[in-house]
Symmetry: none
């Protein structure tokens, strides 16, 4: 039986991982203990890592990062800020902040009293939900801030809300709408229909919003993912768009634009200034202006980023 096999394989992987990382044995010793070849023991250890059966947690506050976080927190009056060590080899690496986001989600979801978590877009957010520790919390609610139907009508794009719900057993509210409607009128009509109004109502009560921050340039994720066309993107850039959060474009001062795609956008609009905990997650030099603007405009009141990005934001 496949499931049985998988289970015992994961069991062995966990054993191997424990013996390797916690007990400190060599893979050769582990191989003998578990009666497998050394190669298999190595595979089990890798599997343990790949399946995230084991997680690493850095207990030590790295002074430099702590200081950057403190400065960001003070300067932009944030309720939450984390700065992870930069990885010079891969400045765009989302792994570090995803880990911290997952941690944040973990600790939020661990609560026994029901909580509502709202999720936006972004690679970091996606990577974060993958790393959330499974936990049974059927009374929590997970709600999407953005429509989950792409331009071509498929609902295929990465289902963050669903994934997180899988891991927690929480009720979830994806938003069954296209990212953009064809006109402002139509948008206004759609957001009033019952199921959408329901999602909106839940989102309004969210205890935590975790959102990615996108820059508005030729490499804008909203364009790469096919949610906005090249022309729409250029139009928004002409209108002064420098960044977007859940699709809502804003200018260099963090003011939401009242034109272009924003008028046809179905995403739930950000509170301005953010009152509920709204945490932006983003790294990379290209995103610095977008992040800084979002912070200035109060679109977010929390930030998870890396050392290099944090430094760049503060140096502007």
């Amino acid at each position: 039986m496949a499931a049985e096999n998988d289970k015992s394989r994961l069991d062995d992987a966990a054993r191997a991982g424990w013996l390797y990382f916690i007990a400190g044995h060599t893979q050769d010793e582990i191989a003998k203990m578990l009666q497998v070849s050394r190669a298999s023991a190595q595979r089990l250890v890798s599997l343990c890592l790949a399946e995230r059966l084991i997680t690493f947690r850095l207990e030590h506050p790295i002074a430099a990062c702590m200081e950057l976080a403190a400065r960001l927190k003070e300067r932009f009056e944030l309720v939450h800020c984390e700065v992870v060590p930069a990885d010079p080899a891969a400045p765009q690496a989302v792994a570090g902040i995803a880990e911290r986001c997952a941690n944040l989600l973990d600790s939020t979801l661990r609560s026994e009293t029901p909580v509502i978590v709202a999720l936006g877009t972004g690679r970091a957010v996606r990577a974060a939900v993958e790393r959330v520790t499974p936990i049974d919390r059927p009374n929590h609610q997970i709600v999407s801030l953005v429509g989950n139907i792409s331009a071509d009508g498929s609902a295929s794009f990465y289902d963050t809300v669903g994934r997180l719900a899988d891991r927690t057993g929480a009720r979830h509210y994806p938003m069954p709408l296209p990212f953009l409607m064809s006109s402002e009128d139509e948008r206004n009509k759609m957001v009033r229909i019952e199921p959408i109004a329901k999602v909106k109502a839940v989102a309004a009560k969210a205890d935590l919003r975790l959102v990615g921050i996108g820059q508005m340039d030729q490499k804008a994720q909203v364009h790469i993912d096919g949610f906005v066309t090249r022309d729409e993107l250029f139009e928004m850039m002409r209108l002064g768009a420098i960044g977007e959060i859940t699709g809502w474009a804003y200018d260099a001062k963090g003011r939401l634009l009242k034109a272009g795609t924003n008028k046809r956008l179905t995403s739930i609009p950000p509170e301005v200034p953010a009152r509920t905990t709204t945490i932006g997650a983003a790294v990379g030099a290209a995103k610095v202006p977008a992040i800084a603007a979002a912070l200035s405009g109060g679109l977010i009141n929390g930030l998870i980023t890396d050392e290099a990005t944090a430094r760049a934001i503060l140096e502007r």
Copy 2:
């Protein structure tokens, strides 16, 4: 200033640990990033570990088992200890530990050089031999530690030794004696006769002893199986018996009693303290005092049990 140095050194250690474990770089890469030699990078990673700046968390039920096993092993100086996940649906289920016992037998018997395996009583031991993988090892020897003739003179009770011999083609030595003789004198006479002395001699050279552990209460297996009468059981309890291994009753400190049925018992007595690998297999809340006593008294130097039982033993 030393503190400053230490601090920045720990900082670097944390950074190195982060880059190594979380970002997944090699120490060589880290060395270049931090502008130190590879050797120093290695030292920083070690330091990070040594100072517990980074911790590993294994998100798997097995983790708890591994830890319990390690604690039992240390606390009672065991040569072997395995803890299987408890089955909440069937706390008495012997299946899990039987599987592990079978595994242990498998790996012992796989050896090409002749080995001697001695078997005691117990449901787990019986279930284990049923699960041993058949293998042809005619030069091994399987020997029984207990008489295989019950009170009524039949040799019907479960023939562990024979079953295991069937599966391995090994020579086997059942012990053709009643469990209890009618008097101490008679016992002393019987154990000196040739066939029995032979069994005893083989057992003395056993490489592995696998024994069940029985509690001495109203539900004692030795009584249920009809080897000791209610009166005999009560007498032993009065004398302080809390558990038995191959019929040998011992008190709460794991000391063999020198009275009652122990004087008429034909079973081969345990070494105290155990020198050859002597593994106890038992689960269940009722057996906790018996197991703990056997461990304390050194009647066994190995244990296979389940999570709940392991926890209970350690919490005493």
